[in-house]
Symmetry: C2
Subunit: 471 residues, 2 copies
């Protein structure tokens, strides 16, 4: 019986799948293929191999998303390791390994770590689980096993692993950089070369030993960051200064390319890293014309295109096109030019525009708000509050607020008054009034807020108390 | 000194410029080029030639749009002739001619009619006015003068007029149907062929005489429709049965191709009928890459494309594309396939979807409403009421309404109460309450309405009194 400790890496800045993916909500949190988000699908893929809570290494800004998305699919409450800054995969996996070794749920203190990016698609989950089981004896014997993807095409966008001959798990001959087209074709023709997927299986102790051998500086930084762990509910906050002191290095460079213990198991599991809109078209179900659609799409005389619609999108006479329509931005891109999408994001960032980082619907620990309308002196938000959640006790200097409950129950504190509102009831929060909104019910609370005032920025807020520890 | 009676034809069903143009709001009412709508631009083009109020022949459903659009540019209060059904241009112009002859503002009872479609672009207004002045002597002498556009390309989408040789106004040799490509090229090479623009100048009496000669049935129907004119404020409503009895025929077929009095003045005035999205790209200002943009558009590595954005549209690596983004629908079309846009509209109509006929913002005689958000059991509308306007006295059986004023002043009748609300004040209309909303102020009234109930259709309305005569 195989038993692993899942380590889910929740990195990614979200520029390549803009405008669906944004800095504050990158692709691992989106349901790009199927109903699950990619993070959820990653956990479900390996849940049968693990009776332990997963360790998720995540960006501090995404901590509530990770917690919420795993909670709603009934995953065991995860250990969410918060990176104060990004330092690539080697320090992140080192911290996860140290935390796993110290975790009392592992009696022997040395679990098998199954390290997985949380933003890849795997079509054949069963084949992947079978591969993990097949790799386990080698990992238990001390190997650092990586899963090499059997290439389907001469891809130049991935690194390759040159494997020894043989069956099943075998020695890595060498890791090779992203090849040019001719080299990629030669790899495909010769065989024995596999795409480097960034998925690993090894004993925590073995990884740490090898890291100590080749990059003791990284190990030292990770160890220091974990010594001063700042526990915050389900979150394990790495020490900022200690972690920031680590070199930024991938596990490949730091360990896998150097260690003699590197082994590879070639796998054919329907893997795709969804690194671009054209990759998403590749993995999406296509109709007879080669079109893949999500949402309300009408296609006339169009072929081999991907369209994502939140409202209605009509395609007329187009081929090989990507169309992505969201609340506040529409992307129209030639399928062979999707790498240039990041130029759009760069320009939005340079102009400090919200569409680079945020969706129109903004997620908060207590729920979310969506700016559905705005005009001179007013804006309208739809606010959702999770069952049992509460916003901070706050006041505003420049705006008044009207609240109309449209679903669920609101408990309102307004200066010295406390009262409940049900669907179709409303209240008014004058400028300067201290107020708090809570959802005391078991279902979601939804309300329409009409803000009125001469300044309506999010920064006009004085917080008096906040259960989520925000200033 | 030239003095004409402008007759503006406000037809057009709005399918070719979907989704910007809709059945309820077709292209003559849109500011497609410049700040004026095309109807407004048409009036401004000829206002210097006419001291009389224009006659506008319009679809009954568009009457408030016509009135409002001409009012806001300070045009004299027009005679708006309402067609109960569309019967093409011959009956429409016949009715306008009969009405003009009977109009006491014309002392001699026989004005020069300048008949103009209201949905064409003319780049060189001064050249057009000069052409009208040049055509006047011939029209005064009894000719039916048409303006022929000097062709810029071998267009196959227009009918042509073969003109006699000579200078200025000259005899029409014949009208020819839309040609094939080779014929169109020959017309261009030979010269003497002009595009049929559908613009005319003639004495009202002369047109009616020629119509009596060739199509007395159409004249009789128009006369009968005008005998029972139903005046309704500034609207002149043609008798439904009498007008419907007219054959549906164009002025070209009914009169111009038959009469010996047809003459043509070739003009080079920057004319475009904006009959498709690619035509709109043609007449729009283009940047160095050939892109024409309206609104918030970011174009990376893209050429010869037209993009209309209400939010943000990003183009990446695309050529010869049309992208039109509205509140409730996005069109992405190859520029050489824009004729197929009507297939999208046909499909929406077949599926009885609102996007075929209506924008998200719906215009009413009193103002407009825009459905900015909706969810189970509620919807949010932004309502604008013009100064001095009032909605009907009404009630709803299935929904309650919350109103929050965000601009201007509202006068509210709610059962037996009458009260005023100012910006940042709100009220509640319970299910079943008789209510009316008025704007007693001099500026626009804007409010947010949150509807709450188990059924939220527009047809849940009981009207008790309506100043606009709606049932």
């Amino acid at each position: 019986m195989v038993e692993v400790q899942a380590v889910l890496l929740s990195g990614g800045s979200g520029t390549r799948l803009w405008p669906l993916s944004r800095e504050a909500y990158p692709k691992q949190f989106l349901p790009l293929v199927g109903d699950d988000t990619m993070l959820q699908a990653t956990w479900r893929r390996v849940a049968a191999l693990s009776s332990h809570a997963p360790i998720v290494v995540a960006n501090e800004d995404h901590r509530f998303l990770v917690a919420e998305q795993l909670r709603v699919i009934g995953a065991p409450t995860p250990r969410i390791v918060l990176e104060p800054v990004g330092r690539n995969t080697a320090p992140a996996i080192a911290a996860a390994a140290l935390i796993a070794r110290a975790d009392p749920q592992h009696e022997d203190g040395d679990p098998l770590l199954l390290v997985l990016p949380s933003d890849h698609v795997v079509r054949d989950d069963a084949a992947f689980r079978a591969a993990v089981i097949a790799a386990t004896p080698a990992a238990e014997a001390g190997a650092l096993v990586t899963f090499g993807i059997v290439p389907q095409a001469p891809e130049t966008g991935f690194g390759y692993i040159h494997a020894d001959t043989g069956e099943g798990v075998r020695k890595v001959l060498r890791f090779v950089e992203k090849p040019d087209a001719a080299t990629a074709q030669r790899y495909l023709d010769e065989g024995g070369y596999y795409w480097n997927s960034g998925m690993f299986l090894f004993r925590a102790s073995r990884f740490l030993e090898e890291l100590a051998k080749y990059r003791p500086d990284i190990l030292a930084a990770a160890r220091a960051a974990c010594e001063h762990l700042d526990p915050d509910g389900e979150f394990l906050r790495l020490d900022r200064d200690a972690f920031a002191a680590s070199p930024s290095e991938s596990i490949d460079y730091a360990v896998m390319e150097k260690t003699d213990a590197a082994m590879v198991l070639p796998v054919d599991i329907g893997w795709n890293d969804v690194g671009s809109w054209s990759a998403l078209w590749d993995v999406s179900e296509q109709d007879a014309d080669g079109n893949a659609h999500h949402g309300d799409v009408i296609a006339i005389d169009s072929r081999n295109s991907y369209a994502y619609a939140q409202r209605l999108v009509a395609l007329v006479g187009v081929d090989d096109l990507i169309v992505v329509e969201t609340d506040d931005a529409v992307l129209v891109a030639a399928k062979d030019k999707v790498q240039e999408v990041k130029q759009v994001v760069a320009r939005l960032k340079a102009e400090k525009r919200s569409q680079a980082a945020l969706h129109r619907e903004v997620h908060r620990p207590w729920g979310s708000y969506d700016s559905v309308d705005a005009g001179p002196g007013f804006q309208v938000k739809r606010i959702k509050v999770k069952p049992g959640a509460a916003l901070s006790l706050q006041s505003h200097n420049r705006r008044a607020e009207h609240w109309i409950v449209v679903r669920g129950t609101a408990r309102v504190i307004r200066n010295n008054d406390v009262f409940e509102l049900f669907a179709n009831q409303s209240t008014y929060i004058p400028i300067g009034a201290k107020h708090r909104l809570e959802n005391p019910g078991a279902e979601i609370l939804e309300l329409i807020e009409v803000q009125s005032g001469d300044y309506l920025g999010e920064d006009d807020i004085i917080r008096y108390e906040d259960v989520y520890g925000r200033g």
